[in-house]
């Protein structure tokens, strides 16, 4: 079971855009690795990440086994202070995670 905790922040940067950073805790096994005992580790990685502002999707990221474990993801959006920004993810085993924050 993936540890589904993740950290999210949305801050207005010097360029006026809202910088969204998401740290998703996920092992992202690509299916090629083995444990210390030589047992193959089955693939377990993110497949889709959706960023939404006030519930409206603005970015979709499709990814695969090449994404790093516990990846840091970042985007720059146009949004007003106080808007709700959410990031939701789905992995190849149909596990899901979601976090929401307010633009500051």
């Amino acid at each position: 079971m993936a540890d589904t905790t993740f950290r999210l922040q949305a801050k207005r940067g010097a360029d006026g855009a809202v910088l969204v950073k998401a740290l998703i805790r996920h092992p992202n096994h690509n299916g090629l690795g083995r444990t210390a005992d030589g047992e193959p580790i089955p693939p377990h990685h993110l497949t889709e990440v959706v960023v939404a502002v006030n519930g409206e999707p603005v970015v979709t990221l499709h990814t695969g086994s090449g994404i790093a474990a516990n990846p840091l993801l970042g985007w720059k959006l146009t949004a007003a202070t106080g808007d709700r920004v959410s990031v939701a993810w789905l992995d190849n085993l149909d596990e899901r995670g979601r976090a929401e924050t307010t633009v500051v």
Binding site: L32, G33, T47, V58, T63, A69, L73, A79
Partner: protein
Amino acid sequence: MILNRRHLLKAAFALTLAGITRRAWAGAERNVNAFNGRSVESALGALDLPTAEESSLIDIDAPDVAENGANVPVEVTVRIPGADRVLVVGERNVFPLLADTRFTPGVLPWFEFKVKLAETSHIRVYVVAGDRLYTTSRQVRVIVGGCLPG
């Protein structure tokens, strides 16, 4: 007879609901064949893209030397007007396609994420703007490969 009809209605309702939540989750289907492609050609072939032209309006920010290939930060900035889709490829990875991301107009065509790189290779970025495809690449030297242990 009534039971059958009820089952049928229930099944139909469940199917519709599944369809709706599926669409709400993401605009486009994830291209499974592209992500399972074991060469750059097969990955890009599955995506059915036009021929790419080199562009200097795409910046890839990644370390010149990555000590650990399991965690390589990549930052992509696109200065091509109308760009709404960015693809990232690790040319020598077992599964080369790393990301396929789509932006709506309210988003700056910039993003960062972390990838695994199997060995020293080029990271190649493709940008879709309208019906044109632009590309650029950047080499990253990898000291310890990041694919097999992970």
